[in-house]
Symmetry: C2
Subunit: 246 residues, 2 copies
């Protein structure tokens, strides 16, 4: 019987991948993924068969993977970041639901929130939420409600998919909702093209983030009321400084 | 000048680490960390100098790291999971705040939420929050407020530090707060000792989670209103099934 692995690559190429992910890809017959991600690793696994599909073809990609696994192949579906965070791990399970005989294993990777946080400093040290600003599959009303409640709870907020051509003002709207609960000078930051060519980092305020020019390859983090800037880095305290001599 | 690296090891030993993390540890003079995590990698980096300190000695550990960096050493502080999620990345920046000449670099790893999600199936596919149930450094009032608002927003909720000897009923209290907003049959799950000896996985309901016997090495995930069980796995839909023929 074949097997499906859903593998998170982390932010970049093979250097950002776990040893386990690398071993799984080495052991597979076929590697399937979105063109951009497949291209990041093609050179490192030259002897493998690659199948690349375009954007918005997620369901078709899963059907290809299932078909190959049913033929007895070991197939890896690769995703950027972690396959379980807004990734393909969910839809693969849904497409394969009538085939319990096909084993599915998710191999985790470093998700964009964590790799963005690492280059910004340490913004996710305390309770945080992840919200995707894409309304392709979720209503904007649900997204707005979640942003408001997250801000009210003083969570650090990490936005995935903060913008696209059609949704150029979504980050602006989101920041304005947060400003109803948090101060305009709340520390914020973003990272574009994490770990890839053209990586761009900015630490600023919530108010400045309203007009930030970000694209769909950007991860945005809005601090909580205690987040501060230390030597240019964005740092959310865990609370040690209240109890220890730091 | 010395340099400080704060390195996330992921859930287990060297196999769960990224290639970048491995290279950084190879290039360091000293590796510092909590005894349990240092022991996970000691055998893989035999030629390195290790400095291990006990629990609740986080601030002291940072001061050792800073002192060695000021002497010109390359020092790695290792953490389980990701160093930026309830990890040491924050407190290192705080302890080193008066020494901007010491470079600090965070090397991200796979955080427990992602490794727990991977073995449970795909519970974090949609918007989620991370909440630590430890009230050592955060007031229980703040924690309760965040749980209630997160449940109201129908976020998937991931709990870190769900229990300890002194806080044996915290997960019970947390689940009861969520039940004010979500159905008792909401899908939930937990993983103990992820990626290590004695790994234990359970998929159950929110109501059953109230009485779950978990320890501080457990990661708990409570699904949102749409999370379902597919062939024994916990899966949160992204929304494809509403728009595509899955």
């Amino acid at each position: 019987m074949g097997k499906i692995y859903i593998v998170g690559l982390g932010p970049g190429g093979i250097f950002e991948m776990t040893n386990r992910a690398e071993e799984v890809l080495e052991g597979c017959d076929i590697i399937v993924g979105y063109t951009v991600y497949v291209d990041l690793i093609r050179e490192d696994f030259k002897e493998k068969t690659f199948l690349a599909t375009g954007m918005k073809q997620e369901v078709d990609r899963c059907k290809i993977v299932l078909e190959e696994a049913l033929k007895g192949k070991k197939v890896a579906m690769v995703c950027s970041g972690d396959a379980g965070v807004y990734g393909m791990a969910g839809i693969v399970h849904e497409v394969a639901k009538d085939h319990p005989e096909v084993e599915i294993e998710v191999i985790p990777g470093v998700t964009a929130a964590c790799s963005a946080a690492a280059v910004l400093g340490a913004p996710l040290i305390h309770d945080f939420v992840m919200i995707s600003l894409s309304d392709l599959l979720t209503s904007w009303e649900t997204i707005e409600k979640r942003i408001a409640l997250a801000a009210q709870a003083d969570f650090v907020i990490c936005f995935y998919n903060p913008s696209s051509r059609k949704r150029h003002d979504y980050l602006e709207k989101a920041c304005k909702i947060i400003m109803e609960y948090e101060r305009p000078e709340t520390v914020a930051g973003y990272v574009q093209h994490i770990g890839r060519e053209g990586q761009n980092i900015k630490v600023c305020t919530l108010e400045e983030m309203v007009n930030a020019k970000v694209d769909m390859f950007t991860t945005v983090i809005i601090g909580n009321s205690e987040t501060k800037v230390i030597n240019g880095k964005m740092v959310t305290p865990r609370g040690y400084e209240k109890h220890y001599d730091v």
